[in-house]
């Protein structure tokens, strides 16, 4: 039954929002947090909000985190709502992640690889012990970066870091990525329809909920759509975004964004037309979000089951199920709307139940037997 609107309650709502503002501010004795502090010191929260809000802007992400008191789904919601107020100027040329300024780049399948393994700023290999030094009042005394080694003359850094999966592809052991320059579908302009092609699936996953993708990816590892994945490559760093404005007629670099990219390597038994080989699952997201990119890559591969002639039986392989439930803004809207007054809807349910019971009572005798 459709939602029936209610009126009234303005005074209470205003008072509730006033109190919310005071609760958000917290004890006045504690200094108010500034958005630049959030952008700098809670960067991973901002990354997640930008990814799920599907809008890259660190300042707005930080503001949304502050306004939502750190509720990251609420913050992503705020960012999504904001983006609807802006016109779209252009679509970018596809970003070249092979030309990324690498902060982190690892492979779990090759020990030695061209370009090497760079751990970057990672929580991997930490002991996960609470660091009480961070709770101390004084500056936590982080060591400054080591001084730069003297620049070697004529040594320009390589512009491109080769892809690990290209090594497998060169050997003929990895399925090729179909090449095309067709304009990709856009779920922000056209409602999803099924069967959804991979461009649509990747767009939905890129803005999908990290927890949902993590759980679904995990389910494929545990046997629900067994994919036996390896991290072929995981990289995080900065890429330039280029657009080609019609008034200029040539491509210009409009600035850099941080991206995380994951390429999973999965076994594929082969089919009548394809020899046994490896296949890819691909994850790409705004900011530093390895869990997100990995979950996305696992689910992307799982959703390719049908295309590769595999049985699609597990939840992660069900394209319609995944795409209709990956967006946490839509999910939270529909789940949380249940909190709003449903008095009229419920009244009708009540009357229906009472009527059914009255009818069934009337048609039974005192001993409960049907007449």
């Amino acid at each position: 039954m459709a939602y029936v609107a209610v009126k009234g309650g303005e005074r209470a709502i205003d008072a509730a929002h006033d109190w919310l503002a005071r609760v958000r501010r917290g004890a006045p004795t504690v200094p108010e947090i500034k958005t630049d502090q959030i952008a700098e010191q809670l960067g991973r929260a901002v990354d997640r909000v930008m990814a799920e809000g599907s809008c890259y802007d660190r300042d707005l992400g930080a503001l949304a985190v502050k306004q939502a008191q750190g509720d990251l789904i609420e913050a992503a919601f705020l960012l999504r709502a904001y983006r609807t107020t802006l016109p779209r100027f252009a679509s970018s040329l596809p970003v070249e992640t092979s030309a990324m300024l690498i902060h982190r780049r690892i492979s779990a399948i090759y020990k030695d690889l061209p370009g090497g393994q760079v751990l970057g700023p990672t929580y991997d290999y930490t002991h996960r012990l609470l660091d009480f030094a961070l709770a101390a009042e004084a500056d936590s005394g982080v060591a400054p970066a080591a001084p730069l080694p003297p620049a070697e003359p004529d040594q320009t850094p390589p512009a491109v870091t080769p892809r690990v999966l290209d090594m497998l592809h060169a050997e003929g052991l990895m399925g090729a990525e179909p090449q095309s320059d067709a304009t990709p579908g856009d779920i922000t302009r056209e409602p999803m329809s099924f069967p959804a092609e991979r461009d649509i699936r990747l767009q939905a996953l890129a803005r999908g909920d990290e927890g949902f993708l993590l759980a679904l990816g995990y389910s494929t590892q545990r046997g629900y759509g067994n994919s036996h994945p390896f991290v072929g490559e995981l990289r995080m760093g900065d890429v330039s975004v280029e657009i080609e404005p019609p008034e200029l007629g040539f491509a210009i670099d409009i600035g850099r964004i941080t991206l995380t990219e994951c390429e999973m390597v999965n076994q594929f038994g082969g089919s009548k037309t394809e020899p046994p080989q490896f296949t890819r699952g691909y994850g790409l997201c705004f900011g530093h979000g390895e869990r997100k990119a990995m979950g996305m890559a696992l689910v992307d591969r799982a959703m390719r089951a049908e295309e590769l002639g595999e049985d699609a039986t597990a939840p992660a392989q069900d394209i319609e199920f995944v795409l209709y439930h990956s967006d946490n803004i839509e999910a939270t809207g529909f789940v949380e709307h249940l909190k709003l007054p449903h008095y009229v809807d419920f009244q009708s349910e009540l009357e229906t139940i009472r009527e059914i019971r009255r009818t069934s009572q009337n048609s039974t005798d005192a001993a409960g037997e049907p007449l």
Partner: protein, 162 residues
């Protein structure tokens, strides 16, 4: 023959100019507004200009490629501010920069126009753009050095299966 040679040089010079313009536009997009203003503080004021469009904030849909190298898909949007101006010398300047800093977009557009000036442009490029570009290269090198320090060599032990 000589006409063809002329056309060749015109094309080459145009290409060179285009590359330079792309470089300064990229540099202005990435540099902080405060850094640009600092470089301009010792310069004579830029020619007066009128706004033709903006500065206005909007979005660019960022595209990626499937598997990093395949067909494109829409990754998500980013905020962008654009501005177009005409300065007192009649030059038109454009700017598209990531983020929502309208003042920076207008400044970048004013510089884009001034840098196209056949007389003053090259000097302005050397004094304003070159140091900004150099600072950005240094910032990249700092990242590279930090990354280099975390380069890792893993050793593989004999497998338990063998």
């Amino acid at each position: 023959m000589s006409r063809r040679l002329d056309e060749f040089w015109v094309t080459m010079l145009t290409q060179d100019f285009l590359n330079r313009r792309r470089t300064w536009m990229a540099t202005l997009a990435r540099a902080d507004r405060s850094a640009i203003e600092a470089q301009l503080s010792a310069e004579p004021a830029l020619p007066d200009h009128t706004r033709l469009r903006g500065p206005e904030a909007g979005l660019v849909m960022v595209r990626g490629r499937m598997g990093g190298s395949g067909a494109p898909f829409n990754l998500g949007e980013m905020t962008v501010t654009r501005c177009t101006i005409r300065n007192a010398r009649g030059q038109i300047g454009h700017a598209y920069i990531a983020g929502r800093d309208g003042q920076k977009a207008e400044l970048a557009a004013a510089l884009d126009a001034a840098l196209q000036d056949p007389e003053d442009g090259a000097g302005l490029e050397a004094r304003v753009i070159a140091p900004l570009a150099e600072a950005l290269v240094q910032a990249d090198n700092t990242i590279r050095a930090e990354a280099e320090a975390t380069r890792v060599d893993f050793f593989t032990l004999a497998t338990m299966r063998s």
